[in-house]
Structures are given as structure tokens and as C-alpha cells.
């Protein structure tokens, strides 16, 4: 998550004070991502240095100092919004690594290990889903954050389920003759406008 671009997005609505930016950032992310004042002012100073925002009184300090976005800042924000995050390479996923390591350890029951992680993930999902019971009490941003977290955790559970089934089948089938290198994916940056 880029605080820098979140600040630019908030300032694209109109000039705001530093303290106001912090409060609005937290409110719009459903209070899921708390920010400290230091992070806000450091970010704003860098944005000002880079010419992406400007302040009423460049020499002034404190919560009453107002900021507004510059044309360069608006352009930077627009480009950031349209640039897909880099998902082209698999992340260094600790859970995947644990399962792969366990496969090499003859004394480890991989299915039992997978179940430990599956239970933990489903318990986390239960906690997030509990929040949805009171969905009427929170705003659309927080609802989207909760959905995103549930889909993310769900995808990990699905991977564990698939791995579980694949390993079960593999135990009764002959091993493939060779291993294949990881495919290299080309990254495409930007979206056609």
C-alpha cells in the first residue's frame, strides 16, 4: 500500500491539512491501516520536495499547514492508478516453502501439516466473516477490505486443498520423469487507455 499515492488521492479532492489527511486516510481504509503523524508529515515533505504537492506556507510546520496537489502530482496519481501492481513473479510465500520443505522430510506427515495451516486460515476467515454480520454498521471501503482479505485467505485454503489432493494422488501414481524450470512471465506495465 502506497501512503504517498493515498495522500495524492485525498488531495485530488481539494486542499487539506496534514491532520485531516491522516484522519481521512484511516476512515477510508476502514481504520484497518492506522497511520502515525510522523508518517504523514514525512510523506508530505517528500511529495512537496518532488513537486507533486505544494503548501500554503512552505516554511510553516504543524497540523494547520495546508497542502494541495500540483498538475505533476495529478499526473503521477493517474499513472499509479492505471499501473497494475507487479504480480508477474510468484512471491516468496512462506506457506508454500513450508509445504515444499515438509515434502523432503520423511518423518513429517504432510497432510497433517497442511491441515494445521488450513485450520488456522479458516479460523482467521471466521473472524473476518464475523465482522460481516454487522455489515450495516461499516462503510463500503471497509466492506471491500474485508471481502479482499476473505478472498485472499480463501485462495490459500484452495491451494492447500489442491496440494492435499495432488499429494494424495501422487502417492499412488509413478513419479514424473523430470522436473521443469519455473516459467518466466513477461511483465506488461500500464494499461491501454
Amino acid at each position: 500500500m502506497s501512503i504517498r499515492h493515498a495522500m495524492l488521492a485525498l488531495l485530488s479532492e481539494g486542499p487539506k491539512y496534514g491532520l485531516q489527511l491522516r484522519q481521512e486516510f484511516e476512515a477510508r481504509t476502514g481504520d484497518v491501516w492506522p497511520l502515525n503523524v510522523g508518517q504523514v508529515y514525512t510523506t508530505l515533505q517528500r511529495l512537496e520536495r518532488d513537486g507533486l504537492v505544494e503548501s500554503d506556507e512552505p516554511e510553516a510546520e504543524g497540523p494547520q499547514k495546508g497542502f494541495r496537489i500540483t498538475p505533476d502530482g495529478a499526473e503521477e496519481l493517474d499513472e499509479w492508478l492505471r499501473t497494475p501492481p507487479d504480480l508477474s513473479s510468484p512471491p516468496r510465500d512462506e506457506l508454500v516453502i513450508k509445504v515444499l520443505v515438509a515434502l523432503r522430510m520423511p518423518d513429517v506427515d504432510v497432510h497433517a501439516l497442511i491441515q494445521v495451516h488450513r485450520r488456522y486460515l479458516v479460523e482467521l476467515m471466521q473472524q473476518w466473516t464475523r465482522l460481516k454480520e454487522d455489515e450495516g454498521h461499516f462503510d463500503i471501503s471497509f466492506a471491500l477490505v474485508v471481502d479482499a482479505e476473505l478472498f485472499r485467505l480463501d485462495s490459500v485454503v484452495r491451494w492447500l486443498d489442491t496440494a492435499d489432493g495432488r499429494l494424495k494422488r501422487a502417492a499412488t501414481e509413478p513419479a514424473p520423469p523430470a522436473t521443469f524450470p519455473m516459467p518466466k512471465l513477461r511483465r506488461r506495465v500500464g494499461v491501454q487507455q
Binding site: T29, Q115, R119, Q126
Partner: protein
């Protein structure tokens, strides 16, 4: 109060070389007001567990109690009466009767149990209203969307004085929004006092449950702890975490 109790339940199909052990020594207790999800891969015994819990099939060994009454000590007629009065079923493919409209489908189990048609229709209408389907009462199943059909089947499952709701992949054919709506209705029924068991392979649906039980090769291998509040862990996360 235990609404459903399975004690050391096993189920074996066939015998000799064709023998298939679908369930082995399953213990499960579901209290009034509780929503329990059963997760497991295909062939893990989830659906068998549900049909045995609902007395649609007999266990090979072990005991099943519904509302404290042991199924093995009931006559077939008593079991059928208990199924009509105490247990509601929800299936993936809805199982609504095509020739009956929504309210007639919902009222059917009450009428089969001897209630007058007028009273049964009135109760059916009340159940549909509770699920926001009053304006669909006179529609036939083929005039309803998939989500609406499943809501009608839930109304049919909770109408009357049911104690236990059993659902087998209740949102299997629905998109995630309608699937969530189904689970909200099941949870609402539990909050009114029903006990429910939902069998699913979908973790997002299972996560609506108070407890998730994991089945593998016919055995209960694990279960989740009751969900706690998540707020404390959320606020400790920074934006870059």
C-alpha cells in the same frame, strides 16, 4: 441443549472386496442455536454424514440422536414424522416441486404433517416474508432466479417448529453474493434457536459457522475454535504489513 448428537458413527457400503468405508467413528454434537460447517474433499464422507444425521440413511454402527431421541429406537414411521417436524433439508439443486408455487412448496411439509392447508399456507407466507420473498410467493420455481429458489428452499427448511437444519452444498450453484445471502439466512435461523449443519467445500461459506469440522477419509480430523473478535489484531497491522 444438544439437538444433534452423533456418537461413534460408522457407515460401510458393500462388503468384501467392494467394501467402502464412508464414515469411521464420527462424533459430532450440535447445540441449539449453533451453526456447524463440515468441510472436506470429495469422497471424505461429508454428504454421508448429513444423510445419516437426517435419518435418510442408517448408520452401520454407532448412534444418532436428534432432539435427544435415538434414531435406532424409532420405528420407520416415527423417523418419517421426526423428519417432517424437526428437520429441514437444503440441497444444492433446491429440490423444489416444479408444479407448486413458492408458498405451496414452503407449506408442503406442514400439510404433509397434517396441518390444514389454510394454516400451512399462512405459515409458509410468514416464512417467505421473513426471507424477503413475499412478492415471489405465487411464482413457480422456473420463474425464480437461482438465489430466490434457494431462499425458498431455506424457507421450506425452517418453516414450522424445526429444530435442525441440514444443508448440503447449499450455495454450490450460486455466485458468491447469493452464496453469502444463503449463509446469512442460515445463520439468522440459528440465531433464532435452530441448530444447523452445513456441508461445504467452500471455506468462505464455512467461515460463517460457529465451528468448522474437518472430515478426511470418513474421520473427523480437526475442528476450529469458536471465532474471536479480530479488531485487536487488525489495528496492530500497519499499511505496509
Amino acid at each position: 441443549m444438544n439437538v444433534l448428537e452423533l456418537s461413534n458413527v460408522s457407515k460401510v457400503y458393500g462388503e468384501g472386496p467392494t467394501e467402502v468405508r464412508a464414515l469411521s467413528g464420527v462424533d459430532l454434537v450440535v447445540d441449539a442455536g449453533a451453526l456447524v460447517a463440515v468441510m472436506g474433499a470429495s469422497g471424505s464422507g461429508k454428504s454421508t454424514l448429513l444423510t445419516i444425521a437426517g435419518s435418510l440413511e442408517q448408520a452401520t454402527a454407532g448412534e444418532v440422536r436428534v432432539g435427544g431421541a435415538a434414531l435406532s429406537r424409532m420405528s420407520r414411521n416415527d423417523q418419517a414424522r421426526m423428519r417432517r417436524r424437526s428437520i429441514g433439508y437444503v440441497f444444492q439443486d433446491y429440490n423444489l416441486l416444479a408444479g407448486l408455487n413458492a408458498v405451496e412448496n414452503v407449506a408442503l411439509p406442514l400439510e404433509l404433517d397434517g396441518m390444514s392447508a389454510k394454516k400451512a399456507q399462512s405459515a409458509g407466507m410468514a416464512a417467505l416474508e421473513e426471507l424477503g420473498l413475499a412478492d415471489r410467493a405465487s411464482h413457480f420455481p422456473d420463474e425464480l432466479s437461482g438465489g430466490e429458489r434457494q431462499r425458498v428452499s431455506i424457507a421450506r427448511a425452517v418453516v414450522g417448529d424445526r429444530q435442525l437444519l441440514l444443508a448440503d452444498e447449499p450455495s454450490g450453484a450460486l455466485d458468491s453474493t447469493n452464496g453469502e445471502a444463503v449463509m446469512r439466512l442460515v445463520l439468522a435461523a440459528c440465531r433464532r434457536g435452530l441448530a444447523a449443519v452445513v456441508v461445504t467445500h467452500d471455506a468462505q461459506l464455512a467461515s460463517w459457522a460457529d465451528r468448522v469440522v474437518f472430515l478426511r477419509d470418513g474421520r473427523v480430523v480437526d475442528q476450529t475454535m469458536p471465532p474471536m473478535g479480530i479488531e485487536a489484531s487488525l489495528v496492530s497491522r500497519g499499511p505496509n504489513s
